[in-house]
C-alpha cells in the first residue's frame, strides 16, 4: 500500500511541473493586464508603468519569470500578488476559511441527500416521490447555478426578505460570534447551499440511481434473493455496497471544486470565497496568484484521486487483491 502511495507521489511531481509550465504559458497568452489600465488615471504616466513593470520583473523574458517563480515555490514562497502587494499565501489563507467551510458543508449535504434519494428512486422507479425527485434532479442539472441564484434572490426579495447575498447581514460581518450571528448565518446559508449543491446532488442522485438499477438486475442479487436472504440484507450488503463504488472516484475528483467550481455563483451571491478572488486575478493577470490557485487545484485533484483509489481499495476487496 505504502509503495503504491509513494509511486503515485513520484509520478505527481513531473505532472505538476508540466501543468505549471502549461498554466504559466497560458497566462502569458492572455491579452491585457492591470498595468495598461492604470494609464487611464491622470496620475499615471508611461514612465510609471514601465517602472512598475521593472519592479515586478515583468520586463524579464518569460522563462526567467517562470524559473524565478519555480525557485520560489521550492523554497515555499509562492510569490507576490501584483495587485495587493502582499504574499500570495497570506491572501489565500485569509479567504480559505469560508471557502473550505462552504465546500465541505455543500459536499456533505450533497452526499447525505443524493445517495438515499438515488437508492429511493431506483427502488420506486415509477412512484410519485421518485418522479418528483427526478424532475427536481433534471431541473438542477439543466439550470446553471447562477440562474438558480438569481431566481432565489428574486424569490427572497419578492417575499420581503433581506438575506440576498453574502453569508451575513452587514451588521454581523465583523461582529464577534454570538447566537444572533449564528442565526443570521443560517438565514443566509441556505441559498448558497442550494445554489452550489443542487447540481452536484442531482448528478450524484442520477448516478446512484443508474448504478443501483444496474446492480439490482445482476445475477448475484437474484441469487441472494433466491437463497432467502432478507430484502434489507440484499439491498444494503449486496446492492448498495456495489453500486456506490463508482461514486468514490467521483468524490475524489470533486476535491478541486473547493476552488474553482463556484466562481460565478460566488460572484452573484457575493460569497467571501476564493472563487471571485481567482476570477479577479485572472482578469487582471495577477499571474502569481493565478499560478498558486491553479496549482492548488491541480494538487487537490491529484490528492483527491489518490484518496479515491485508497478508499476504493478499502471498500472493494477485488481491487485490493489485484
Amino acid at each position: 500500500m505504502w509503495i503504491f502511495v509513494f509511486r503515485r507521489f513520484l509520478v505527481a511531481v513531473p505532472t505538476l511541473l508540466l501543468i505549471s509550465v502549461l498554466v504559466f504559458a497560458v497566462i502569458q497568452l492572455q491579452p491585457g493586464g492591470f498595468l495598461e489600465n492604470m494609464l487611464e488615471d491622470p496620475r499615471v504616466s508611461r514612465e510609471t508603468v514601465e517602472r512598475i513593470r521593472r519592479q515586478y520583473l515583468l520586463d524579464q523574458p518569460v522563462w526567467v519569470q517562470y524559473l524565478n517563480w519555480l525557485s520560489g515555490v521550492v523554497r515555499g514562497d509562492f510569490g507576490y500578488s501584483f495587485l495587493n502587494n502582499r504574499p500570495v499565501s497570506e491572501l489565500i489563507w485569509e479567504r480559505l476559511g469560508w471557502t473550505v467551510f462552504l465546500a465541505v458543508l455543500t459536499i456533505f449535504a450533497t452526499w447525505v441527500i443524493a445517495i438515499p434519494l438515488g437508492i429511493y428512486t431506483a427502488l420506486r422507479r415509477h412512484g410519485l416521490g421518485a418522479t418528483l425527485a427526478n424532475f427536481i434532479g433534471y431541473f438542477g442539472l439543466a439550470t446553471p447555478d447562477f440562474l438558480v441564484a438569481l431566481l432565489l434572490i428574486f424569490a427572497v426579495l419578492s417575499a420581503g426578505g433581506t438575506s440576498v447575498g453574502g453569508l451575513f447581514s452587514p451588521q454581523y460581518i465583523d461582529a464577534p460570534w454570538s447566537w444572533a450571528k449564528f442565526v443570521d448565518m443560517l438565514g443566509h446559508l441556505w441559498i448558497p447551499l442550494i445554489v452550489i449543491g443542487l447540481d452536484g446532488t442531482a448528478s450524484i442522485m442520477r448516478q446512484m440511481r443508474a448504478n443501483m438499477l444496474d446492480v439490482l438486475s445482476q445475477d448475484y442479487v437474484r441469487t441472494a434473493r433466491s437463497k432467502g436472504l432478507a430484502e434489507r440484507v440484499v439491498l444494503w450488503k449486496h446492492a448498495v455496497r456495489n453500486a456506490i463504488n463508482p461514486l468514490i472516484s467521483i468524490a475524489g475528483l470533486s476535491l478541486p471544486n473547493l476552488i474553482s467550481s463556484t466562481i460565478i455563483a460566488s460572484i452573484v451571491l457575493n460569497l467571501p470565497t476564493i472563487g471571485p478572488f481567482l476570477y479577479d486575478s485572472l482578469l487582471n493577470k495577477d499571474q502569481y496568484v493565478v499560478m498558486a490557485l491553479l496549482m492548488m487545484s491541480a494538487v487537490l485533484l491529484m490528492v483527491g484521486n489518490l484518496l479515491a483509489d485508497v478508499a476504493l481499495a478499502w471498500a472493494d476487496p477485488r481491487i485490493r487483491y489485484e
Binding site: E40, L150, P170, D174
Partner: protein, 579 residues
C-alpha cells in the same frame, strides 16, 4: 482682581482657540437639495472590488480611492455644484513669480485621527516623499518632476515649478498623508524608494491608518467589508455650526456584481448605490410603486463617455488609409444615431456629448452643430464621393475590389457598449459597410486599443475638470492617443513622430503646447475651444453620448448628492444624514 484676570485669561484662551481652529462652513447647496441634517446614524455603501491596499499611493485601485476620499483630505477640493476649486486643508493660496510659485496657507487646528497636529511637514512629506517618488505606484512623479517643495513655516508650504503649469492647482486635490506614520517607509526615513509601496497593506493594524478626513478606519474584513467611524474632530461644519460628518458610521460592503448590488439595495442592506441607465427602468418603476427609495439623476462632470475610434494605423493598409481620412470618419459619424442610443441604450439618461470635455464643464465648447445629426442619405452620399462603390450584395468595395468590412471591438460585459455596438453595426450596414462585432472584456479594451490588433473600437475615457489633466489622451503622440500610434514617440522620453502627424493633428498639438504654458483662463479657454472644434470637425474619434449620473438612495437618508466616489476632492458623503 485675580478672578477678573482669570476670566480674561480664559477669554484669551478661547479667542486664541477660535482663531487657531479654522473650521470650514459648508453652505449654499440648496439647489442640490441639501438641508441641515442631524447627527448620528450609519450608512452602508457598496465597493465594486476589495481594496488592494489601504495606502492611497500604493496602487491605482478604485476601492482605495473611494475609501481615501472619506479618510483623507487634499489641500483643495471641488465645489459639489459647480466643480470650482475651494479651500480644504489649505485655507488660501497665492500664485506669484510668473505663475510658477504657489504658496499655500494651511488650515490651523486640524488633527490627525490619532490626535497629532496636521502641519506643513505632512504636506512637504506627502508631495516630496510620496507623490514625487517615481517608484510609488500611485504617485504622480510625472507632474512633479523638477518641482521644489518647501516648508515656509509650520502652516505654510511653497511649491516652485520649473515652468508655469496652468492645471497645477488640480494636483493639490491629492490626499495628504501623515508623516509621523509613514516616515519609516520613505527615503527620508532611510528606505529604498520602492519601499513606500509596502505601507499600510490590507492586513495593517487599522490604528495605523490615520488621516484628517471625515471618517477613520475601524476595521477591514478581507474581501467582505470596510468599516469607517466618524472623526469627531473633523474641520467642516454645516450652516448651523453642527460638526460634520453627520453619520457616526460608514460601512462599505465589497460587492463585485452590479446585480448583486441592486439586490442588496432592494433588500435594504445598502443605503445608496450608483446605477446605470440600463438598471434605471426597473428601479424607477419600483419607486413609483411606492418602494422606500428615490432614483435621482444628475448631469455629472465626471464619468467616461464612450467614443468610436478607428485605427489610423490598421494592419490592412487600405483600411488604414480610409480610417485616416476625415471625410470617411465624418461619413460614419452621420450614420451614428446618437438620439436612438440615448433613448434605447441609456433609457434617455444621457445627452449629446462634448468633445473631450463634459457639457457641464466650464471648458465645454458647444460642438453639437459640428457633430451633425443622424442622416443616412448624407452618409451614403459622402461614401459615394469617396469612390466606394457598392458591390452586388450592397456592401461597398474598397479600391482593391475587396468588400469594405472591419471588426468593431467592444466590451461585451457592458450592457451599454453592447447596445451601442449593435446599433452601430445595424446602421453601418445600411450605408454599405459590413461590421463584424468582437466582444471582449471591458477591462481589456484599453490595452487592446494600445496594441496594434484592432480596426475599430468603442471605449470610454474619463472626463476631468481641466483639459490639461487629460493631455495623454487628447494631445497627439500622448500615451493614450491610441488611435494613431505612429505619432507616439519611439522612446519613452522622446519627441512624438511629427512626420506621421496629419495636418490637423499638428494644429491640435500646437494648441496643447501653447495652452500648457498659458495661465490666463480666457486665453486657455480660447485655445481649448479651438481644439474642441477641430476635434469635432475632423471626427478625430466619434463621441457617442454622455451618460447622466444616476443613483438610488433609500428614503432613510437625506442630503444625497451623486458622487462617482473615486474622484479626489469631490466628496458629498459628510453631508448625508440618517432621518
Amino acid at each position: 482682581m485675580s478672578k477678573r484676570r482669570a476670566v480674561w485669561l480664559v477669554g484669551f484662551v478661547l479667542l486664541g482657540a477660535l482663531a487657531l481652529a479654522q473650521p470650514k462652513t459648508i453652505s449654499g447647496y440648496g439647489n442640490l437639495g441639501v438641508t441641515s441634517g442631524k447627527a448620528g446614524g450609519s450608512l452602508t455603501l457598496a465597493l465594486g472590488s476589495a481594496p488592494q491596499t489601504l495606502f492611497y499611493y500604493g496602487a491605482i485601485d478604485s476601492a482605495i480611492q473611494t475609501l481615501a476620499n472619506q479618510m483623507f483630505d487634499g489641500l483643495i477640493e471641488y465645489n459639489l455644484a459647480n466643480y470650482k476649486i475651494e479651500p480644504a486643508l489649505a485655507v488660501s493660496w497665492q500664485i506669484s513669480g510668473g505663475s510658477r510659485v504657489y504658496t499655500f496657507n494651511l488650515r490651523r487646528g486640524v488633527k490627525w485621527h490619532d490626535g497629532r497636529d496636521f502641519t506643513a511637514d505632512d504636506v512637504v512629506f506627502t508631495y516630496g516623499q510620496i507623490v514625487a517618488n517615481p517608484e510609488a505606484r500611485g504617485g504622480d512623479a510625472g507632474n512633479f518632476a523638477g518641482v521644489k517643495i518647501e516648508k515656509v513655516d509650520t502652516y505654510r508650504v511653497r511649491f516652485t515649478l520649473p515652468k508655469p503649469a496652468p492645471a497645477f492647482i488640480h494636483y493639490m486635490r491629492l490626499p495628504i498623508m501623515p508623516k509621523h506614520k509613514l516616515l519609516g517607509f520613505s527615503q527620508e526615513g532611510g528606505k529604498a524608494p520602492a519601499e513606500i509601496n509596502n505601507a499600510w497593506p490590507t492586513n495593517v493594524n487599522p490604528e495605523e491608518v490615520v488621516g484628517t478626513g471625515p471618517f477613520r478606519l475601524q476595521s477591514y474584513t478581507p474581501g467582505q467589508q470596510v468599516t469607517l467611524v466618524k472623526n469627531p474632530n473633523y474641520w467642516k461644519r454645516d450652516e448651523n455650526g453642527t460638526a460634520l460628518p453627520y453619520l457616526d458610521r460608514l460601512q462599505y460592503l465589497v460587492i463585485t456584481d452590479s446585480q448583486a448590488r441592486v439586490a442588496q439595495f432592494l433588500a435594504g442592506n445598502l443605503g445608496q448605490i450608483n446605477i446605470t441607465g440600463a438598471e434605471f427602468p426597473d428601479l424607477k418603476r419600483r419607486e413609483v410603486q411606492g418602494a422606500p427609495f428615490k432614483v435621482v439623476q444628475f448631469r455629472a462632470l465626471f464619468g467616461s463617455p464612450p467614443h468610436l475610434a478607428f485605427n489610423y494605423d490598421a494592419k490592412n493598409p487600405e483600411l488604414a488609409r480610409l480610417f485616416r481620412n476625415s471625410d470617411f470618419r465624418r461619413a460614419i459619424q452621420a450614420a451614428v444615431n446618437r438620439n436612438r442610443i440615448i433613448e434605447d441604450v441609456y433609457n434617455g439618461l444621457a445627452e449629446i456629448p462634448g468633445n473631450g470635455m463634459a457639457p457641464i464643464s466650464e471648458w465645454y465648447y458647444d460642438t453639437r452643430k459640428l457633430l451633425g445629426s443622424y442622416n443616412l442619405q448624407a452618409a451614403n452620399a459622402a461614401l459615394d464621393k469617396l469612390g466606394l462603390k457598392r458591390g452586388p450584395d450592397g456592401i461597398r468595395l474598397l479600391p482593391s475590389g475587396r468588400p469594405l468590412e472591419f471588426t468593431l471591438t467592444y466590451g461585451s460585459n457592458s450592457t451599454a457598449f453592447t447596445g451601442i455596438a449593435t446599433i452601430l453595426q445595424n446602421d453601418l450596414r445600411q450605408i454599405g459597410i459590413k461590421v463584424n462585432l468582437q466582444g471582449i472584456l471591458a477591462a481589456n479594451l484599453l490595452s487592446t486599443g494600445r496594441g496594434k490588433d484592432w480596426e475599430a473600437l468603442v471605449l470610454g475615457l474619463g472626463d476631468q475638470p481641466d483639459p490639461e489633466l487629460r493631455t495623454p489622451i487628447w494631445k497627439p503622440g500622448g500615451a493614450l492617443y491610441y488611435w494613431h500610434q505612429s505619432t507616439q514617440p519611439t522612446t519613452p522620453d522622446g519627441p512624438p513622430q511629427f512626420n506621421n502627424f496629419l495636418p490637423w493633428e499638428r494644429e491640435i498639438y500646437d494648441i496643447w503646447e501653447k495652452a500648457a504654458s498659458t495661465t490666463n483662463f480666457t486665453q486657455r479657454k480660447a485655445l481649448y475651444d479651438r481644439w474642441q472644434a477641430i476635434f469635432a470637425r475632423e471626427a478625430m474619434v466619434i463621441m457617442i453620448a454622455k451618460e447622466f449620473a444616476v443613483g438610488a438612495v433609500s428614503n432613510r437618508y437625506g442630503n444625497y448628492v451623486y458622487s462617482l466616489g473615486v474622484i479626489p476632492g469631490y466628496n458629498p458623503v459628510p453631508l448625508m444624514f440618517q432621518r
